[in-house]
C-alpha cells in the first residue's frame, strides 16, 4: 500500500516537473482594455506556433498602480505595457536598444519618443501614434460658418457664436468628474506651450531637473496662470457645461453624438466610443489643434507614442518575451492592433484603416498645421496627472483664483520632486 502510494506520488512529481520544464511561461501585464480580446487572439496564435512557450495575459484597470504592488512584491511580469520614469530610474526595464528588427521598422521620431532622456537608451517599443486635440462637430461648425480657431481669441469667439446661436448646445464640454481629463488639459495646454516654446528636448530636461526659471509655473503672467484665468473666464461666461465638476466621459460622448455638445478635448482613444454610440456621425467628426493662448505661442496638437511595450530587467524569460513581442509586432498583427486601438501604427510597413477616411484627413490637417508635442513623461513621481486634474477641479469649484492656482501648482510640482 505504502509502496503504491510512494510510486504514485513520484509519478505525479515527475509529470508536473516535466510539464513545468516543458513550458516557459511569459506573463504579460496590460492596462489597455481596448486590445484585450485582440491580444488574446494574437496570444493564442503565438502559443500555438511556439510549443514550449505559453504567454498569459493579465489585465488590470488600474494598471499603473497595480504594477507598483507587483514590483514591491517581486511578482514582476515579463512583459508589460506600464511605463514610468521612476521605474526607468530604478532600473526596472530591459534595454531594448539592440532590437534592430523592431526599430528599423518604426517611424524614427517614435524611436526618439521611446528614448529615455537620462540614459539615451530605449526601454520600451511603442506600437502606435496617438493624437489629442479638440473633437468638434463639423455640422455645427458648417451651419455657423466657423473654422477651427488658431488663436485663443478666435476660440472664444467660436464658443460665443455657438452659445448665442444654439443655446441648447454646450460650446465646450469638459467632463471634470474624471480628474485625468482635467490633468490632460494641463498636459496639452500649459505644458504644451512650454514644450512648444522651449523645444521638446529642452522642456523635458527642464522638467527632469525641475528648472523653475524655465518652467516658471507660479508666474502671474505665466502659462499656468493664463490657462487658469482663461478657464475661469469660459466658466463665468457659460461657454463650458454647468455640470463640469460632475460630468463623466460617458455624458460627454452622449452629448457630442446627439449634437448637444459642439466640441470636447480628448485623444484618439475616444474615437471608437463616439462611432459606437453613433456610427452615422463618422463623417461629421472634426479634429483641431489646441489654439495658441500665450502671446508668443503657436497652436499645438499631441502627437505622441502610444501603446508601449517593455520587458522586465529581471525577467528569466527574456528570449521568450522577445519572441512574443516580435510576433505581436509583425505587420499582419499590427494592422489588426491598430484598427482595434483606433490609432495609426508606429510601424512604417503597416497600412491600417484605423479611422474613417474623413477623420484621418482631419487629423492629418491638424498635425500639419500645428506644433506637434509629446506627453509629459517627466512629471515628478509624487505629482501625477490626476493630482493636477484635482487642482483644476478645485479651480473650477472656486477654491483658487488664477494666480493662487499657479502658485499652488508650482508648490505641488516642487513637492512632488
Amino acid at each position: 500500500m505504502k509502496k503504491g502510494l510512494a510510486f504514485m506520488l513520484a509519478l505525479v512529481l515527475c509529470l508536473t516537473s516535466a510539464a513545468a520544464l516543458a513550458d516557459t511561461k511569459v506573463s504579460f501585464f496590460t492596462g489597455k482594455i481596448e486590445t484585450i480580446d485582440l491580444l488574446n487572439e494574437i496570444i493564442d496564435g503565438f502559443n500555438a506556433a511556439n510549443p514550449g512557450i505559453v504567454v498569459e495575459q493579465e489585465y488590470q484597470n488600474d494598471a499603473s498602480s497595480i504594477i507598483k504592488v507587483k514590483f514591491a512584491s517581486g511578482e514582476i511580469p515579463d512583459v508589460m505595457t506600464t511605463y514610468e520614469q521612476e521605474f526607468v530610474d530604478q532600473g526596472k526595464y530591459l534595454d531594448l536598444g539592440g532590437m534592430n528588427e523592431w526599430w528599423e521598422r518604426l517611424i524614427p521620431s517614435m524611436r526618439e519618443s521611446c528614448t529615455d532622456l537620462k540614459t539615451g537608451l530605449q526601454y520600451r517599443v511603442c506600437t502606435n501614434v496617438t493624437m489629442a486635440g479638440f473633437f468638434y462637430n463639423k455640422e455645427i461648425y458648417a451651419q455657423l460658418g466657423l473654422t477651427p480657431a488658431v488663436t485663443w481669441d478666435e476660440f472664444v469667439a467660436n464658443l460665443t457664436a455657438i452659445k448665442e446661436t444654439m443655446p441648447d448646445v454646450t460650446p465646450w464640454f469638459i467632463f471634470g468628474k474624471e480628474a485625468w481629463h482635467l490633468g490632460h488639459l494641463i498636459e496639452f495646454i500649459p505644458h504644451g506651450y512650454l514644450k512648444q516654446s522651449l523645444g521638446t528636448l529642452a522642456c523635458k530636461a527642464a522638467m527632469l531637473e525641475n528648472d523653475s526659471a524655465k518652467l516658471n509655473f507660479g508666474a502671474a503672467d505665466g502659462a499656468m496662470a493664463v490657462f487658469a484665468q482663461n478657464l475661469l473666464d469660459l466658466q463665468a461666461n457659460g461657454l463650458i457645461n454647468d455640470d463640469v465638476l460632475t460630468a463623466t466621459s460617458d455624458n460627454c460622448v452622449e452629448a457630442f453624438v446627439t449634437g448637444k455638445a459642439a466640441m470636447f478635448s480628448n485623444g484618439m482613444w475616444a474615437l471608437s466610443g463616439l462611432l459606437e454610440a453613433n456610427p452615422a456621425m463618422a463623417d461629421q467628426i472634426g479634429f483641431a489643434p489646441y489654439p495658441a493662448y500665450m502671446p508668443d505661442s503657436q497652436p499645438v496638437v499631441l502627437s505622441a507614442e502610444d501603446s508601449g511595450y517593455a520587458i522586465s530587467a529581471t525577467s528569466a524569460n527574456v528570449d521568450a518575451a522577445k519572441a512574443f513581442l516580435s510576433y505581436l509586432f509583425s505587420a499582419e498583427n499590427q494592422k489588426k492592433y491598430s484598427e482595434a486601438l483606433g490609432s495609426p501604427s508606429a510601424f512604417m510597413d503597416v497600412q491600417a484603416a484605423w479611422a474613417p477616411e474623413a477623420f484621418v484627413a482631419e487629423v492629418a490637417a491638424a498635425l500639419s498645421s500645428a506644433e506637434n508635442i509629446g506627453f509629459t513623461n517627466e512629471k515628478p513621481a509624487g505629482f501625477s496627472g490626476d493630482d493636477a486634474g484635482r487642482m483644476v477641479q478645485d479651480l473650477l469649484a472656486g477654491t483658487y483664483d488664477a494666480q493662487s492656482f499657479a502658485i499652488a501648482y508650482e508648490k505641488a510640482w516642487n513637492e512632488g520632486f
Binding site: 468628474k177 454647468d242 455640470d243 465638476l245 460632475t246 484635482r390 477641479q393 469649484a397
Partner: protein, 287 residues
C-alpha cells in the same frame, strides 16, 4: 487503573491565534516599522524617525481629510443607530408583510458599497440624474442643485447613501437585542404605570446596551475607514474636498510614498481606537 486525562481545550484557540498573529499582529508590527521610513514602495527604505508623523500634521490636505472623515463618521454613526433602532422598533411589532419589509430594509446592505455609490450617482447626478429628470417631469426643481459644488450638501449626500445602505444591518442587531428583552420586564413596567416613553427609556434602552455597543463600535470603525462610497460618488472631489483618510492613504501609497502612507494608516488606527475604547467603556459601565 486510573487514566490521566489531559485537557487540550486551550490548544483549540491556536488556529485562531495563528490567523490573528499572521493577519493582524505581524502586519501591525511591520507597519509600525515601515511608518518610520521613507520607503517609496520599491527602493531602499531609510529610517527617518517620526518625520512622517510630523509631516502629516503639517499637511493641509491631510488635516482636511481628517475633518471629512470625522464629519462622515459622526454623522453616519449617529444616523445609522437612530434609523437602525427606529426600524427595529417598527419591525419588532407584528404586522402583515413584516418579513418582506425587513428584507427590503436589509437588502441594500448585501450590495457592494462601490456599486451602491454608482447607483446613487446615476440617481442624483446634478442636471443628468434620474431624480433630476423625474422632478423636471412634474415641474419641480431638483432640491440638491449642483450638490458637488457645495461641501455641506456633498457630505450630506455621502452620509445619506451610507446610512441608507447600512441601516438595515444595524436594525438586525437591534432586533436581536429587542428579542432578548424579556416581555415580563416590559409588562411589569406597564403594570407599574410607566408610559410608552418611560418604558422605552427606562427598560428597553438600558437592556439594549450590548446591542448599542456592538452597533456603535462597528459603525464607528466602518465610518472612519470609509473608502468605497466616497470613491464611487465623488472620488474625493471636487479637488480633495471630500477625500477620506483611507483614500488619502491609498493615493499616497500609489504615489510612491509608501512609508508616509503607512504612518497615516497608524494615525487612522489610533483615531479608530479612541472612540471605540471610549464607547466600550461607557456602555460597559451602563451594563
Amino acid at each position: 487503573m486510573r487514566v490521566k486525562r489531559r485537557d487540550y481545550t486551550q490548544w483549540m484557540s491556536l488556529p485562531a491565534l495563528l490567523l490573528f498573529c499572521t493577519f493582524f499582529v505581524y502586519p501591525l508590527i511591520r507597519g509600525i516599522g515601515m511608518s518610520l521610513t521613507d520607503w517609496d514602495g520599491m527602493g531602499k527604505a531609510t529610517f527617518i524617525g517620526f518625520a512622517n508623523f510630523t509631516r502629516f500634521f503639517q499637511d493641509a490636505r491631510a488635516l482636511g481629510d481628517i475633518r471629512t472623515t470625522l464629519i462622515f463618521a459622526a454623522g453616519s454613526a449617529l444616523l445609522l443607530n437612530l434609523f437602525g433602532l427606529l426600524y427595529a422598533l417598527l419591525m419588532e411589532k407584528p404586522f402583515h408583510g413584516r418579513s418582506l419589509a425587513r428584507v427590503i430594509i436589509y437588502l441594500p446592505a448585501i450590495i457592494s458599497p462601490l456599486i451602491m455609490g454608482y447607483i446613487w450617482y446615476f440617481l442624483l447626478q446634478p442636471g443628468r440624474g434620474f431624480l433630476y429628470h423625474a422632478m423636471a417631469q412634474i415641474g419641480a426643481t431638483f432640491p440638491l442643485g449642483n450638490w458637488m459644488g457645495n461641501y455641506p450638501t456633498t457630505m450630506a449626500v455621502l452620509i445619506f447613501v451610507n446610512v441608507w445602505q447600512f441601516a438595515g444591518m444595524t436594525m438586525i442587531i437591534y432586533l436581536a437585542g429587542l428579542q432578548n428583552i424579556s416581555s415580563d420586564m416590559r409588562e411589569a413596567a406597564l403594570i407599574d404605570g410607566a408610559g410608552a416613553w418611560q418604558r422605552f427609556t427606562r427598560v428597553t434602552l438600558p437592556l439594549l446596551a450590548p446591542a448599542i455597543r456592538i452597533n456603535v463600535v462597528t459603525n464607528i470603525i466602518g465610518s472612519l475607514s470609509v473608502f468605497d462610497v466616497i470613491m464611487s460618488l465623488t472620488e474625493g472631489g471636487p479637488g480633495y474636498a471630500t477625500e477620506s483618510l483611507s483614500i488619502y492613504i491609498m493615493r499616497m501609497c500609489y504615489g510612491s510614498r509608501t512609508g508616509y502612507s503607512t504612518a497615516v494608516a497608524m494615525i487612522l488606527f489610533v483615531m479608530i481606537l479612541i472612540p471605540v475604547v471610549i464607547s466600550m467603556r461607557l456602555t460597559r459601565a451602563r451594563d
